[in-house]
Amino acid sequence: MFYRENGQFKTSYKSDQQIFPIPQDRWAIVAIVALAFFAVPMMVDEYLFRAILIPFLILSLAALGVNILVGYCGQITLGAGAFMAVGAYAAYNFLIRVSGMPALGAILLGGLTAAAVGIVFGIPSLRVRGLYLAVATLAAQFFWDWAFLRVKWFTNDASSGSVSVADISVFGWTIDSPSDKYLFCLGILVIFSLMAKNMVRGSIGRQWMAIRDMDVAATVIGIRPMYAKLTAFAVSSFYVGVAGALWGFVHLGSWEPAAFSIDRSFQLLFMVIIGGMGAIAGSFFGAAFIVILPIFLNQLLPVIGGWFGLEVSIALVSHVEIMIFGALIAFFLIVEPHGIARLWSTGREKLRLWPFPH
């Protein structure tokens, strides 16, 4: 009733091709972003920032990167955690080794380094496909896990690869309170999402999607597979690397290689698949689901145990937590294999017709 586009006529190509052609969508997005920038910092407390909002923003950014590679270009990767690590440690090295390096510059350079590394580890994708490639990307994961633990140069001779960064400042704005960190991450996320949205609906995004749908056919119509695949790897790794640098600099402050272990890679892939492959919004849904679910279970289980008069130990909670987490993931894939983004678009279709059935 309220969400209907009839009567809205496009009179120019420009208005037909904008990011959100339907004004309701446009206003909804503007409202959400405004809410996130202005209302949220005033309403929520410190715990919520630290435990949920900041991880959600940074992991959304990483999921966005993984989605570009997996969802748009169809190259499954299980090594995303490694590229987060590369981003974080490269940014750290730029920050401490180059005097006068601004933090934002270090973060972006970290992302660029991750992009370069991504191109190198993307080369096998020119030969190897599908599940073979997925396993091959694990090589990146294990190699970098090892490198940051054993090669002392990367971590400035820190023992066991643990490094720390003081509070950063960007253009004179010192980011130390949780709400500052939140706003900083949110700003970066908004800019990067806009970039991603524009990339995937532009020429390069169409090339990626053609490669994803069938790479031989794409080659026949004149798309260079090498260029398309390697740019996907580069852009994706750049996003993931920036997210890794933010994770280290802003969220953790001090970290060690275990922060970017293989579990992180699985987590990112979960986000993309549960959120929806090949949908920008899916990355946000997936990140929200994966960030909130464990916290929710963690809080809920002792309460449920209390109802039945059971004393629930911490170890048991963690075991039951991963059990329910796994079961929910399988359940979710069965109910909606195309992810939350598909549910969202089905809902929107329904909304358009509402209150009529057809």
Partner: protein
């Protein structure tokens, strides 16, 4: 020379153990096109079940015979793995027929988390001993050929022998029995197999049961070496390069891939490791597999991937 041989044989032995886990991957992939990430969790689950039941059964029955306890525990664990296999097929895979590979992969990752959680909730999360009477003491061999001879772990020998037997049994099962033929038919073409009256769902349950048994054997062997503990589930990650090196669809590939990776790992760790700081085993295996893949994208013995447009 004798040191080199020792490393080489050690590598071959651990390679056999990797192939044991890799076999589970290959069986399921061949028959259902599912890349089963839960294989490691199944190994852990089976090992925990074996360890705990061999501890509990003597208590329940009040007997004091290690051999009988182990046999009973093994039988119970086989039953447990069958139930797990049946539940996985019934509750998850049946609903995901015809989904993309990535979705199925994620579903098995979900199963892996679930099994890890359930296993540790039921059986506890300490390190448990599995004592099936494997000989522990090392033996000297070929003393008259080399000076000093070479030192070999008897346990490794037994493990390698059991693995070889299992592979032989599986090969016979696949090649000579009616069920084995049906399994191969399903692996070749789901629809064609269905149209000549092979029940897909039952075949999948059987495959998962067989994979469950290989997981149990792998779990018992690895468990008696390392103890039944959570880190067993990472054994699967060590076995992955074996699978892609040998080819996802080939049983002999799993064996030969395992041997190559085992030897490569050990030799690289001993001869290359000291120069770069050690601990390179795990990523070296992946790099080795990747090198092979660059020349043969479908693995050494995998079916040739043919693209049609």
């Amino acid at each position: 020379m004798s040191f080199f041989l020792e490393t080489l044989i050690g590598g071959l032995m651990s390679g056999m153990l990797y192939s044991l886990v890799a076999l589970g991957f290959v069986l399921i992939y061949k028959a259902s096109g599912v890349f089963n990430f839960a294989q490691g969790a199944m190994v852990l689950f089976a090992a925990l079940s074996m360890a705990r039941f061999s501890e509990w059964i003597p208590q329940w029955l009040g007997m004091d015979n290690l051999f009988m306890a182990n046999v009973l525990a093994f039988a119970v664990s086989v039953a447990v793995m069958f139930i797990v296999a049946w539940l996985i097929e019934r509750l998850v895979l049946r609903h995901l027929v015809n989904q993309e590979g990535a979705t199925l992969l994620m579903a098995t990752l979900g199963i892996a988390y679930f099994l890890d959680g359930v296993g540790q909730t039921i059986f506890g999360s300490d390190i448990y001993k599995i004592d099936v009477g494997m000989p522990k003491e090392p033996v000297m061999m070929l003393e008259n050929v080399f000076e000093g001879g070479i030192l070999i772990n008897k346990e490794d020998f037994v493990a390698a022998f059991i693995s070889a037997m299992l592979v032989l049994a599986l090969t016979i099962f696949f090649q000579k029995t009616a069920t084995g033929r049906a399994l191969r038919a399903v692996a070749d073409d789901h629809q064609a197999a269905q149209s000549i009256g092979i029940p897909l769902n039952r075949i999948w349950v059987i495959v998962w049961c067989v994979a469950g048994i290989t997981a149990l054997v792998a779990g018992v062997i690895w468990g008696s070496k390392l103890g039944a503990q959570f880190s067993l589930s990472t054994v699967a990650l060590r076995a992955l390069p074996v699978v892609i090196l040998g080819g996802l669809t080939s049983v002999p590939g799993a064996i030969i891939g395992g041997l190559i990776i085992g030897v490569g790992e050990k030799l690289s760790e001993v001869y290359l490791g000291p120069y770069v700081g050690g601990g390179i085993e795990i990523w070296f295996a992946y790099m080795l597999a990747l090198m092979f893949l660059l020349f043969r994208p479908q693995g050494l013995f995998g079916e040739k991937i043919i693209d049609r447009v």
